[in-house]
């Protein structure tokens, strides 16, 4: 029968709402080369800017001679700190409460620091220009090793701070000291250690690395001299924040500043902050009256914009002899480079590192973090993680393995023994967080059953015997990791950036024919927001996702939002979307009640519209309500169907997961092979399982790269020795392991749709899984801890140190 009414299942399916593996809206343009990335933009008369950079890590700038450069055909201007001083922009504020040179002002503090900005008619002439600028330097002694930064006789790096005994986060105790941050109960923790049967102490370092999205940082700035409008197209993860920063530092009225993030080719934290390139392009456009493009090259990206990690964590755990943890004490030496440009919420100098108690019920803990300056690039961004959460997860997950080893316990068993129990949620951690929900035991056991954990341990024991008998040169490691993330920054009570609370926002406008547009304060950098945001709306208001256009990234049209990083889009913007949709639904209900001539309370929601309770044939679809909203609303009601929501989350969300890595290492070469990697994630309600799986694959791949070799390494004079994709480990399809994914669902109780965020979990949980696998492989030879990254030669060195190779 053709006129049969669609079934409930058919009506649900038509929406492609939450839970649907909806194919992505974005892909039509991306698969056909029709994306709109910043460098694709070509404006009439557009100029190009490029930087002269310092070859030295620390040097006084004696002179900058632009004479020859200005004679290069096509070169129009050379901007230096002196030029910028005339507009009061030679330094800029950082998100962490420090200041940073835009262009070298008297000295340089890291290799490849921006020294001068050459503006030319095209990128070729600009490159010729930078090669013709003559800069004279006087080299100064460098501070590269963070453990020497606070030596009494260490060189003074930040002369601008001389005499300042306190900074944005309290007292400074040395000229290269930035802040000390302490959390927790010191006395109680010290007491726990005094009473402990067993303690461990280990320096666990998380090396400096870099997010390095495939598209580098870039922008086009265009100043309209007549109207005084400044438009900046840029690779921004947080366009509204950029607009406010520009308004504050350039003293331009905010309504005259238009920031647009078009398609962004990956972010991973690299594109949160403000860089000298943006400032210089804007100044150059104001000076020349023409649009100016700045595009970073890969070497510049790796060496100058926003590193990640560089945390050196002295970790101590106290426990009973039965394996109950009783205290955690961590001290972090945090290498922030030449300027403190961490992209953390303003009041959190070490981000949310105090999630370091992890998934375990620690009765007490104490944490202190010392931030220091060195002659390295500034940054400290959250590379595919919430603020300093990968560092914390690595610290505790490595620490638990070390404790297990000391106790002679299985690492999985030790974790099961100390997990926060399902009935303890909401759980108040010793370092101040309120975990929203979790079921750790179920997830862990599911992982152990799926991979047949006990059998793997038996196989490992047999392999170790075979190795001892000289029958094999391979050693086998099992890397267990159970992480708890803290994402969705954040509640206004404790999270802000430059004084702006970290809410997010959504504006939905429905059109008469049952379609609509949603504008959101987040900014997709590959996560597929145009697809998933429409799915939330589809489920909430019963219009097909295909009918909802999603728009982000234009500060003139999108409501103010804090952007996309720290897995905050779903927890915060996702909530704003649901709340805006619910406002619309509430108005729709009034319209439907009026049209159906019943009281609102007599209506109930049914997939794609309202029906009268007890009279299932009396219905009004959302599509029909949309039409009615424009011609027959109840008396006294404004027409239209539109809502805005600014969502201030009541709490963070706490995704978690159980990962395991099975690895074999050839001791003679240090070459490893990831035999199996299983990742179980619990991100609460799942909006689009296809996209979640893709996020997990990508995050695991980045975790693999970081743990196994991806390092920004400096030599003793401050030269970056890993400045290209040859030396900065960027795995191809050949090196990348095969991923197995799985999930449990424990919704967040405070989030409107119960979702927690997932994009960064695999990086947070993945790194300790890989590192624990390597460490577990070597542990039977007498090793306690081997530092990351675990590249081939370091594995071989470990084998040699442990007597496994001659």
């Amino acid at each position: 029968m053709n006129d049969m009414a669609p079934t409930r299942e058919q009506r649900e399916a038509k929406l492609e709402g939450m839970g649907c593996k909806r194919k992505r809206v974005e892909d039509a343009r991306f698969t056909q080369g029709k994306g709109n990335y910043v460098d694709d933009l070509k404006l009439p008369g557009m100029l190009h800017g490029d930087f002269v950079r310092s070859p030295h890590a620390h040097a006084r700038v004696i002179s900058i001679n632009s004479e020859k450069a200005l004679k290069v055909p096509g070169v129009l201007a050379v901007i230096t700190a002196e030029t910028l001083k005339t507009v009061n922009l030679s330094w800029m504020p950082t998100l962490a409460g420090d200041v940073q040179m835009v262009l070298a002002d008297g000295k340089v503090l890291f290799q490849n620091q921006e020294v001068a900005f050459v503006v030319a008619t095209d990128r070729y002439a600009a490159d010729d220009g930078i090669n013709a600028v003559e800069v004279e330097y006087e080299a100064l002694p460098v501070v590269i090793d963070p453990f020497k930064a606070m030596d009494k006789d260490a060189p003074v790096l930040r002369e601008d701070l001389v005499g300042k005994t306190s900074g944005a986060h309290g007292p400074r105790k040395h000229h290269n000291h930035i802040f000390e941050w302490t959390v927790g109960d010191k006395d109680l923790t010290d007491a726990a250690f005094r009473k402990a049967d067993v303690t461990i102490k280990e320096l666990i370092s998380y090396h400096r690395t870099h997010p390095s999205p495939l598209e580098t940082c870039q922008c086009v700035a265009s100043f309209d001299k007549i109207n005084g409008d400044l438009t900046i197209w840029g690779t921004f993860q947080a366009p509204h924040v950029i607009r406010t920063v520009v308004a504050l530092i350039a003293s331009l009225p905010e309504q005259k500043i238009h920031v647009i993030s078009p398609d962004v080719g990956g972010g991973f934290g690299n594109k949160v902050g403000a860089y000298p390139g943006y400032i210089c392009a804007a100044v150059a456009s104001i000076v020349t009256g023409k649009p100016v493009k700045w595009v970073e090259d890969r070497i510049e990206n790796l060496t100058a914009t926003s590193f990640a990690r560089d945390y050196h964590m002295t970790t101590e755990i106290a426990a009973t002899k039965e394996g109950r943890v009783t205290g955690l004490r961590v001290h972090v030496l945090a290498d922030h480079g030449a300027f403190d440009a961490c992209a953390d919420p303003s009041k959190w100098p070490a981000g949310f590192f105090n999630i370091v108690t992890g998934s375990y019920d620690f009765p007490t803990a104490h944490l202190s973090v010392d931030g220091i300056y060195t002659n390295k690039a500034p940054g400290g961004v959250a590379y595919r993680c919430s603020f300093r959460v990968t560092e914390a997860a690595y610290c505790i997950e490595r620490g638990m393995d070390i404790l297990a080893q000391k106790l002679g316990m299985d690492p999985a068993e030790l974790r099961l023994k100390n997990f926060i129990k399902a009935e303890q949620f909401p759980y108040h951690s010793a370092l101040g967080w309120e975990y929203d929900s979790g079921d750790y035991h179920t997830a862990m056991k599911m992982m152990m059953e799926t991979v047949k954990y006990a059998d793997l341990r038996k196989e490992q024991a047999a392999k170790r015997e075979a190795f001892r008998r000289g029958e094999t040169r391979d050693i086998m490691g099992l890397g267990v990791s159970f992480f708890t993330e803290i994402v969705g920054a954040g509640p206004s009570k404790n999270c802000d950036i430059l004084g702006i609370a970290m809410f997010d926002s959504c504006e939905i406008r429905l059109h008469p024919t049952g379609a609509g547009i949603a504008r959101v304060g987040s900014k997709s950098t590959g996560q597929g927001h145009e697809t998933t945001w429409a799915q939330i709306i589809a489920t909430e208001i019963g219009l097909p996702a295909d009918n909802i256009k999603v728009e982000e990234g234009n500060t003139d049209t999108a409501p103010y939002g804090l952007g996309t990083y720290g897995s905050r889009s779903t927890p915060v913007a996702g909530a704003a979307i649901a709340m805006a949709a619910r406002k619309i639904k509430a108005k729709a209900q009034m319209i439907a009640a009026y049209r159906l001539e019943v009281h609102e309370d007599d209506l109930e929601w049914d997939i794609d519209g309202f029906r009268v309770k007890g009279l299932p044939e009396k219905t009004m679809s959302m599509k029909d309500i949309c039409w009615a909203a424009y011609n027959s609303v109840p008396p006294g009601m404004e027409p239209g169907l539109e809502a805005v929501s600014y969502y201030d989350p009541p709490n963070m969300t706490y995704p978690f997961g159980a990962y395991i890595c099975v690895m074999d290492i050839d001791v003679d070469t240090g070459v490893y092979k990831v035999r199996r990697f299983y990742a179980l994630d619990d991100c609460g309600t799942r909006i689009n399982p296809m996209i979640i799986e893709g996020q997990v694959h990508g995050g695991l791949t980045e975790a693999f790269a970081i743990a196994m070799g991806q390092e920004i390494r400096y030599d003793e004079t401050g030269n970056v020795v890993t400045g290209s994709f040859m030396d900065f480990f960027m795995p191809t399809a050949v090196e990348t392991p095969h991923w197995e994914t799985d999930f449990t669902v424990t919704p967040s109780p405070h989030h409107p749709i119960g979702a927690k965020g997932v994009g960064e979990s695999p990086n947070v949980g993945g790194v300790p899984a890989f590192s624990n696998a390597v460490n577990d492989a070597f542990s039977f030879l007498g090793s306690t801890h081997i530092q990351m990254p675990h590249d081939f030669w370091r594995n071989w060195q470990a084998a040699k140190r442990l007597g496994a190779v001659g």
Partner: protein
Amino acid sequence: MIPGPFSYHRPSSVADAVKLLVSLGDEARPLAGGHSLIPMMKLRLATPEHLVDLHGIAGIKGVRRDGSTIVIGAMTTQHDLLASEMISKSLPILHETALVIADPQVRYRGTVGGNVANGDPGNDMPALMMTLGASYTLQGPGGTRSVVARDFYQGAYFTSLEPGEILTAIVIPAPASGHGYAYEKLKRKVGDYATAAAAVVLTMSGGKVATCAIGLTNLSETPLLAEEAAKIVIGTGLDEATLKKAAAAAEEIMSPAADGRGPIEYRKSVGGIMVMRALKRAAARAG
């Protein structure tokens, strides 16, 4: 990362190319696949004023048999090598090696001539050519001469090529039928140069090694021929002790740099391991 300005020349014969190189002097560089030179130019570490593109020259591309030798035109790409049945059949070690050079795209452009001629110690083909006893045909203002690969490499980026000379062909004596071969390359990832690599070509007779040559890649500032190591294995059945002795002899002549691939001690040690593994695999293949 933009190259400095230069003039572009595209001669149609080797003679014209040589003439250009001679007349333009030190400021001219021949351009083959460009995958070493162009990146250097983008960093302005190389700033030639003239590029002489060899792609327009007919007759220096392709593989042919010439009696008991195989002749590879200098502009033959790694991809051409991989596609050549003659190479797979007669010089399978070249096929095996080409597969671990760079990545697929680079192999479409990267030439065998460029790989052997530019003197980069990281390139894979030079040690292989030394192992195979190949010679290079060089054409210059004074005519054509032949230099054996084993005498060609003098230092990093420093070879026997005289100013104005172009390497036009590689002549390789066809290895004995039933020979065993292996190229063992340890690298960090696809696209990387070798941390250490060893090429082995050998023949077996009655379970013993009859002839053997061993080449080493990226373990010194030039490719190396590990002659002492080869001598040690001849006449043996490649027992563990002999393999270890050969590896030790090979390590003796290695002088790798410490870099991102590892410290000197590591690179030498895995160099020895590559020699042992290549010997074992080659022996297993020998008929």
